[in-house]
């Protein structure tokens, strides 16, 4: 395994064609595109790392997996009154679908859906409390209390996030956002600004590879059925309108973020985190996807056979 990762870092990690770093969030635009890290946490307790696997990066939309898990913990299936669970066929920030479906987002991983999930978590709380809850959950599943928000990134998003503000106000117009729009956006932008390393992120995803239980601590995080369902959502909707392509090439449930990270789950085996800041045209890490494709070829880990 370590040899495979080393080979991936040496070849793909050194590619010239690295994609384009997200520039619509000013703080992210400054990240050095030449970084590349990968980490694999296995259900039997091993951790393999290569490249910049300990470097912190902004997990951005990968946090939507964690906020969804928190929301499911609080509201159970009530979450599905607020967001659907179908792929959207549209870019991550499309508002067209929202108008056609009366303000109900297609799934929890497009921006509108994650904003609706943030609203669900907030219910009856201040943004600080909701955020503390999400952060506490991430620290719990990563078994690492050093994980924090990157305030600079959160503020950078708040200042420029007109499109997300439009989505939130639009849902509010349909009565689908119950808390003040400012609170909801603050919560959303902050949980997207959690900073983690590949190593921490792979560790945090392990419960999804192990039927909902943390295989190292033995702690039950979610029931097996819920872990399966979260995995199915990652497969179907985890890469926006590139989800089909990711399933076709990689064949694992995964969730990408515009910070260049991807979390992928191998049910029963492992949790993988990869990071390379450059993005492809639909907003997913270009080298990260290639690395996962190579890894799956080498390991036979595709869920599709």
């Amino acid at each position: 395994m370590q040899a495979i990762l080393d080979e991936i870092v040496a070849t793909i990690g050194a590619s010239d064609d690295r994609g384009k770093v997200a520039d619509y969030i000013p703080e992210l635009a400054t990240v050095d595109p030449n970084q590349f890290g990968i980490a694999i946490a296995t259900v039997d307790g091993q951790m393999f790392c290569a490249g910049d696997a300990e470097q912190l990066f902004s997990i951005q939309s990968i946090s939507k997996v964690f906020s969804l898990t928190v929301a499911l913990g609080k509201l159970g299936d009530g979450v599905w009154q607020r967001v659907g669970r179908e792929p959207s066929g549209d870019p991550f920030n499309s508002i067209v679908q929202l108008e056609h479906e009366n303000g109900k987002p297609r799934n929890p991983f497009i921006n509108a859906g994650a904003i609706a999930v943030a609203d669900a978590i907030l219910m009856g709380h201040q943004p600080k409390e909701a955020l503390a809850e999400v952060l506490q959950f991430v620290r719990f599943i990563a078994d690492d209390d050093s994980i924090c928000f990157d305030d600079k990134v959160a503020k950078s998003e708040l200042a420029t996030g007109h499109r997300n503000a439009a989505l939130a106000h639009f849902m509010a117009a349909y009565g689908r956002i119950k808390n003040p729009v400012d609170y909801v956006l603050g919560t959303y932008f902050h949980h997207c600004a959690i900073a983690m390393s590949c190593q921490q992120l792979a560790r945090a995803g392990l419960f999804l590879a192990a039927d909902g239980r943390d295989p190292l601590t033995g702690a039950r995080v979610v029931l097996p059925n819920r872990a399966r369902r979260i995995n199915s959502l990652m497969m179907m909707c985890g890469h926006y309108d590139g989800s089909g392509e990711f399933a076709f090439r990689v064949g694992l449930p995964g969730k990408s973020g515009v910070g260049g990270g991807i979390l992928a789950i191998v049910p029963g085996r492992a949790s993988i985190a990869v990071w390379s800041p450059g993005l492809d045209t639909v907003g997913n890490s270009k080298l990260g996807t290639q690395a996962l494709e190579r890894l799956v070829q080498a390991t036979g880990w595709s869920v599709f056979g």
Copy 2:
């Protein structure tokens, strides 16, 4: 396994709430909604059946999996010049997406995509020849030369299929259909009118569960990588705008048809066919989906853990 199937037939198969038989194809509207069959073919050569598992039904869109496989055999990755591989987020017969994407269908399993695949298979042939090729392939993978088209169903579709004619002409207007529209529609409607039983269908899908090789005859049907990719397309796009729901509830690659059949693949283990004519609101077999959900709960066969 047999006990599980018997229990499913006794409970779900006897449900009162059976959905609505498709009525837009006159010949299908006459099918008795009270039928229910299920069959499982395992990669180690066993076959389990229950209910009306030997009753022939119209496989309809399930045939798209087979026509895609034939087209991939002829054109290889050239198929992807003609159709995409992303979920569409739209109903099976939507034309909106086609206009937004200049006549290129999102994936090979929506109607427009399967029509484009039929055009690809036709290239340089008469419809009869193309259809013979598809039928021969289905007989080969099912190891059963008795499988035939149901001409009455094919003609019933031809007479009423204005929407599919619209899709075909629309793609032709973008230069994406190379053969006469009549030929293409004839080919498409006929391969949708293949009649099979659950038992035959489960047998036919076995190569997708066994890395592309027929585990009983040992014949190589497709390379392992292609089998995986077909499975990924079934997962992402196999149930139209109910694909997310099917992944969430069942967690297997599957393809439904408006005849009420579903083919589901358990990579490395088995191929499952279920049939109940009544459909849910998005056009997938209502009891068939429930049966697969129950089966996966009982067997733990979800690919998601």
Copy 3:
């Protein structure tokens, strides 16, 4: 003429089927639906009134004609860099069109377009200054310094206007709003909250019937060509996705507001204001439209022959 108006008030004004008062702006929802007023100002200086023609009402979107005129005075044809001049074919508050056209509103009379116009007027000013300018202009063309904003209505809109906030943020995301979104919305909501009577409104529109000159004071308001063009925009886009219906039935350039008012222009002859709070299904005054249809039948004032 007076007899025609009296007859309209007695018949149409007394109709039982009055439509539905707008309820999404709380302050408007409290208006008595049984009111009905009509006023005609002719270019030769006569004024005919009937019904509640002196009752103040919220002119709402009718103000978009005046804010557009102010913006054209400041930016000239630069306004058309910011908004188009085609009918939208969509409801007044649709966001779909905005996404398809990269944040540029189709015309200045849908909400998004009027918000973009408000942004254009603001440029370099505080909302108070911009609003003073619009109000001063309305007082000037109405020759009446008593005209004011209704602050309660403006605040009522601000508190509930999530959809307009969504439109504004959405355009800001495309770089099409240059001022703070709060300023722009404040300006927009306030100019929509101008309160006028039919008599004042008919008087205010007179310059559009008289080649851009106030025929009573002799003051040049806009050049003849600009008056014609504003009239053309009212004809094409003045009633949202009911513009075709209004042209078909009434045949005059007109602009409606959800307060139940309509301003209609008879080029070369007269300016007409009608008010009845109940709206039809696309948001235009139900009895107001009927009254104009009757008036045009009686006078032969249609521009279409």
Copy 4:
């Protein structure tokens, strides 16, 4: 008047920037783009011509005005069960709007709408009879029995008209086309292939400028109210998604065709036909529009003041 036309031919008619001749209908693609003609028929019986005003050209979509008039004569307001009367905001051949509105075209002047009108005319007849009726009507209003179809153009369209075939099948799928699709398309393509000169066309439109009566023969063609309504539809929908622009610049009801012709009506005064084969980006005659703009400036004939 003659001097104005001569000046227009000498300046605009000689422009280098002539737009692009329609190339999707092969027969039209061969037309010499350097031709330019204009003709004005006044209600008091004068005819002014300049340039290639006697040259025959394919009137294409201008024929939709005449087929609508025939359909209104046969079905009266029943026509509005089949097509709406709102501008579409979409290109002339869009299918998106049809799906959103269950197969009912927005107005009779987009292609789908004119196809629905052709279906309405056909009812109970062979295409030959329906076409004879339309041609007879055009000869009647033009007072000229020499007017004919250009069969080569009609066949050229039939062979390549996949998009219109898609629209027709799509409406048939919603039950909105009652006759065989082939019949409907044949009727539609043929009436679009009527060949007329500017002089004939201006003469033919005269009844719309004269309250529905032919001012030269005294024959009543339609009632005054119907003439007004047809004019309103030409204003709102006569130039596809360039209708707003045409109203803004020209200010007359008008209908364009991809053959490069435009018919414009000055209610109470005149009927104008202009022809220049090169089209602008939305499919309307480039120099034809400029010529009308100049003419209206010179004559003050805008309906907007």
